[in-house]
């Protein structure tokens, strides 16, 4: 900027127009700062990408109800029992809220026991993990995992 520091301060206080952004009368030099073009460009790309991704969801046309596949991730012994991590995957085309997952463990001997975990939200085509607690070792017996129910978010 071709201004002395003093005139710059006055300009700041009084005049609302920072000179550099005005286009010259000749119009030869476009003085819109490069940074302005850059950030606007980033903005344009982000807008188009966002609209594209959100819009493409509209045409996906998958509104099948939630379907869950549940698998065991890990089992570890903890004081007083066993902790089993399960991964619930929603294969369906709709999200589900309040998903209740039950694990029923039938040990080689003795009575069977059940454990339950509920998941606030499981989006469509997405997974969530949770834990089930058992008194006997789930690795020894037969385990049945199932989703008991959900509600629409």
């Amino acid at each position: 900027m071709a201004q002395s520091p003093r005139s710059k301060t006055t300009a700041k206080r009084a005049a609302p127009k920072p000179a550099p952004k005005r286009k010259s009368a000749a119009g030869a030099v476009d003085r819109t700062p490069l940074l302005e073009w850059l950030s606007a460009g980033v903005g344009l790309v982000l807008i188009l990408a966002t609209l594209g991704i959100v819009g493409s969801e509209l045409f996906r046309a998958d509104d099948t109800p939630p379907r869950f596949t549940i698998r065991t991730v890990s089992v570890e012994a903890i004081p007083g029992g066993f902790h089993m991590v399960v991964r619930v995957h929603n294969d369906g085309g709709s999200p589900a809220a309040g998903v209740v997952v039950e694990g029923e463990l039938t040990p080689p001997s003795g009575p069977s026991e059940t454990a339950e975990a509920s998941f606030d939200f499981i989006a469509d085509k997405s997974s969530r993990e949770g834990g089930l607690y058992f008194e006997t070792d789930p690795r020894q017996g037969e385990i049945r995992l199932r989703a008991k129910g959900y509600s629409e978010p």
């Binding site: 903005g43 807008i47 997974s127």
Partner: protein, 284 residues
């Protein structure tokens, strides 16, 4: 000769870049200030992610673009001189809002990679709009140099109503996604609703009369109390109610709800909206 001219030109570009960078930093500050309460609201995460109807999210995003442009014209985070400049600033504000939202949500651990990309983008996108509004209000919030003198020239009745609408969005949007709107409307009976409507109109009128209208130099003195009431207060409240209803519909709060409940919810949200419209002069 040519070299010297080039040096001078690059010097100018540097200076204008620096000025713009200041504006951009202001924009980030404004975005953070306005959007943080929303970024830390769990309803926003679930709404943007997968709960919200995609068509409504798309409409919301598209509808926000002209509003950002209008804000860039009336407020902005740096002085603007022509339409191109305003469009560029509006686009930049979207970028700022997007970056702020993405970084904040990632920091809070909301952006779980287990979700689909569309969910993640949705979560960021729904927070981007209020953040971008905040970015464009930054000029006023941080009393940017050389920005206040630009405004009054844009004034007029339409400008005042637009800025009232922005003020209404500014406040209502912070409350709209929460469960409380629904809860409060459940607690309220018809008498409560009428009292709240009256209170909203009175607050709006009191503020507008005492503070003056957004986008105007001075408090409008002509017309008096009665005329102000019909030309500003009533349209202002109508805008507030309409924006409330739109926000509630967008967030799916109107789905499978009886008409009188919908009306009560709009009135409940209309209170912060009216307050926002009334104080638009302070924010814009």
């Amino acid at each position: 000769m040519v070299e010297r001219a080039a040096t001078r030109a690059s010097g100018m570009i540097d200076a204008s870049n620096r000025l713009y960078l200041q504006g951009l930093v202001r924009a980030f500050g404004g975005a953070l200030l306005f959007a943080l309460p929303l970024l830390m609201t769990s309803e926003m995460w679930s709404l943007g992610g997968f709960v919200m109807d995609r068509t409504r999210l798309l409409i919301f995003l598209i509808a926000s673009l002209p509003m950002l442009l209008g804000l860039s014209y009336y407020v902005g985070f740096e002085p603007t001189f022509d339409l191109l400049d305003e469009v560029l600033d509006a686009l930049a504000a979207f970028a700022v809002g997007f970056v702020i939202s993405a970084v904040a949500l990632a920091m809070f651990g909301v952006l779980d990679p287990a979700f689909t990309p569309a969910d993640l983008i949705g979560k960021i996108a729904i927070c981007t709009v209020p953040a971008a509004i905040g970015a464009l209000l930054a000029g006023k919030q941080f009393q940017a140099n050389g920005m206040t003198a630009q405004r009054p020239s844009h004034g007029g009745h339409g400008a005042a109503l637009f800025l009232m609408a922005v003020g209404a969005v500014f406040l209502a949007f912070n409350v709209a996604p929460t469960e409380e709107v629904f809860l409060i409307s459940h607690l309220m009976g018809p008498v409560h609703t009428l009292v709240l409507m009256t209170a909203s109109v009175l607050v709006l009128h009191g503020f507008v009369y005492a503070l003056g209208f957004p986008g105007q130099d001075r408090r409008l003195e002509a017309g008096g109390l009665g005329r102000t009431f019909f030309t500003y207060t009533i349209p202002g409240y109508a805008i507030g109610l309409a924006i409330s209803a739109y926000c509630l519909w967008t967030f799916g709060r109107f789905d499978d709800v009886a008409l009188h409940e919908q009306a009560t919810m709009a009135v409940v949200l209309g209170f912060p909206a009216a307050l926002g419209a009334a104080t638009a002069r302070l924010v814009t």
